[in-house]
Amino acid sequence: MKDLFKIFVLITVLFSTEQLFAQTERDKVEALRVTFISKKLELTSSESEKFWPLYNEYNDKIKAIKRNLRQSYNRKGLNASNEEAEELYQLDIQSRQAETDVHKQYSEKIKTIIGAKKIVKLRLAEEEFKREIINSIKEKSE
């Protein structure tokens, strides 16, 4: 039992490394964004129960597409051969198309739940949050 305890203490230390804290930061930002949007939208209880599962699914897809593209650029990017560059180019086009498709598909679904007015509010809230982030980063770098 003591050996088992030592193993778990070791795992605990490994699980608390800095790299994992970076993930926590990302989660925090996402939680803040959701809270921000939630306040701006003022959804009713029945709107809320249908909206958030759909909106989370939409965000997961958009983020996955962006992350996939970013990681591909980071992996091959500057040292890409002609063939790899062509692949990256195709991936870039496909990713942007996929983003548009997902955006359209989910916007239509979300519109049936919260209506066009609140969709506009949603986009404005997303933009406002983004602006807050950008301003904060800009201020920090000055």
């Binding site: 039992m1 605990t12 699980f15 608390s16 490394t17 994992l20 804290f21 970076a22 993930q23 926590t24 930061e25 990302r26 989660d27 925090k28 930002v29 996402e30 939680a31 803040l32 964004r33 959701v34 809270t35 939630s38 209880s45 809320s48 129960e49 249908k50 958030w52 599962p53 759909l54 989370n56 699914e57 965000n59 997961d60 897809k61 983020k63 996955a64 597409i65 962006k66 992350r67 996939n68 970013r70 991936l91 496909q94 990713s95 198309q97 996929a98 498709d101 997902v102 359209k104 598909q105 049936t112 739940i113 949050f129 983004k130 982030i133 950008i134 904060s136 980063i137 800009k138 920090k140």
Partner: protein, 388 residues
């Protein structure tokens, strides 16, 4: 003319349908053609290690004589439990709601060392594996079913293992984010006997904010989350179980019985502090007063043929209240689908937690304090470079 009109209508409907299906497929395909792997489940794989200690209490009574044999009573307990999501399916309803089913594999290994100064040290093990089925209607309700067979065994001395089954069926209804009620039935050994109990739950307050939760027969707690990393709780809950006990020390006068049952329960009232160290690791500490302590020894033979509770015991004793200490580590593995503000998934996580590990709802995200120092790495999914 009428027929032509009908054919035209049928054709146009078919074209519209094909166009719609094509549109839906291409939207899906363009995502799928990128071959992006996304998480399948809403539940993380979770492992909880829990250590519990209650100092010894000396027995002053001499009647019945078993008191004299036992001399004192204390508890050392270690519990390792886990759940793994096996299957998750989202179902898109026509009104836009997303319902889902979840199948979880649960496991539990509990090593209990009751400390009786007059007896040799026994190690009583309870090990089980179970299945949980959760159906989230995507609207206000949630169904929860659990079967959890387990075996109890005194591993220190020769004894016979005993197989038992705990189970529950519960319906949870969210009137709103801030008000929830649960009703169901549960077969539980938590109160030191084989009991069939109603499950009645009530919660005021959001699960990620300050909330009061009363979940009979499991726990009642007042929870104060703060700073997205900490939860302070004041709670009261029963703890106990039925274990097999070897008759190595000839505690039971019928020496032909190699094994009898040791049952215990107590009500723990105290405070608990949960710390979310990182995405994958949390820990908690708890302490308080253990009251309504009771231990009993049952002969299996004397209770044979009883379908309900065990009621013929050869020793039972209420023990004076004492302090207890509890410490736990929670490990989360894997990535999940996002479920921010999805109150039914929050509720599913809470129900799963209430009926099992008591892991501090490690998966439910807490709202952090407003940040003013974003870094590029943490926001790169939200901001494009050309946004600057």
């Amino acid at each position: 003319m009428k027929n032509i009109h009908l054919v035209f209508n049928f054709k146009s409907a078919l074209i519209c349908l094909l166009f719609f299906i094509y549109g839906a497929i291409t939207a899906q395909t363009s995502f799928d053609s990128l071959n992006i792997k996304s998480p399948k489940h809403y539940f993380n794989t979770l492992i909880v290690m829990d250590a519990y200690r209650k100092p010894d209490r000396a027995f002053k009574d001499t009647i019945p004589p078993i008191n004299k044999r036992l001399k004192s009573y204390g508890i050392k307990q270690f519990n390792l439990s886990f759940h793994i999501p096996l299957y998750t399916k989202d179902i898109k309803e026509t009104d836009g709601a997303i319902s889902n089913v979840h199948l979880l594999l649960t496991g539990n290994y509990l090593a209990l060392k009751p400390v009786f100064d007059g007896l040799s040290q026994h190690k009583l093990v309870k090990a089980g594996i179970g299945l949980r089925f959760i159906y989230n209607t995507g609207r206000k309700g949630l169904w929860f079913f659990e079967v959890s067979p387990f075996v109890t065994h005194d591993v220190t001395y020769p004894s016979r293992p005993y197989y038992r089954l705990a189970s529950s069926a519960i319906y949870s209804y969210n009137f709103s984010d801030k008000l929830n009620m649960r009703l169901g039935v549960t077969k539980s050994f938590l109160w030191g006997n084989r009991l069939y109990l109603p499950f009645i739950g009530f919660r005021i307050g959001r699960l990620d904010k300050v909330n009061l939760s009363i979940q009979f027969p499991r726990c009642a707690s007042l929870n104060f989350p703060f700073k997205s990393k900490y939860i302070f709780s004041v709670y009261t809950k029963p703890q106990g179980g039925m274990f097999n006990f070897s008759n190595h020390d000839s505690l039971y006068y019928k020496k032909t019985d190699a094994t009898f049952h040791f049952a215990r329960y107590e009500i723990n009232t105290g405070f608990r502090f949960d710390v979310r160290v990182s995405t994958h690791f949390n820990f908690y500490m708890a302490s308080g007063i253990s009251s309504r302590n009771n231990i009993s020894f049952y002969s299996e033979r004397a209770n044979k043929g009883r379908a309900g509770i065990y009621s013929t015991y050869f020793f039972t004793k209420d023990i004076a209240p004492s302090l207890y200490f509890n410490f736990g580590l929670v490990f989360k593995f894997g990535k999940t689908k996002s479920f921010y503000n999805n109150r039914n998934i929050y509720d599913a996580i809470d129900l799963n937690n209430t009926m099992g590990q008591n892991n501090g709802n490690a998966q439910i995200p807490l709202t952090p304090k407003k940040k003013s120092d974003y870094n590029l790495k943490s926001v790169q999914d939200l901001v494009d470079y050309n946004d600057f």
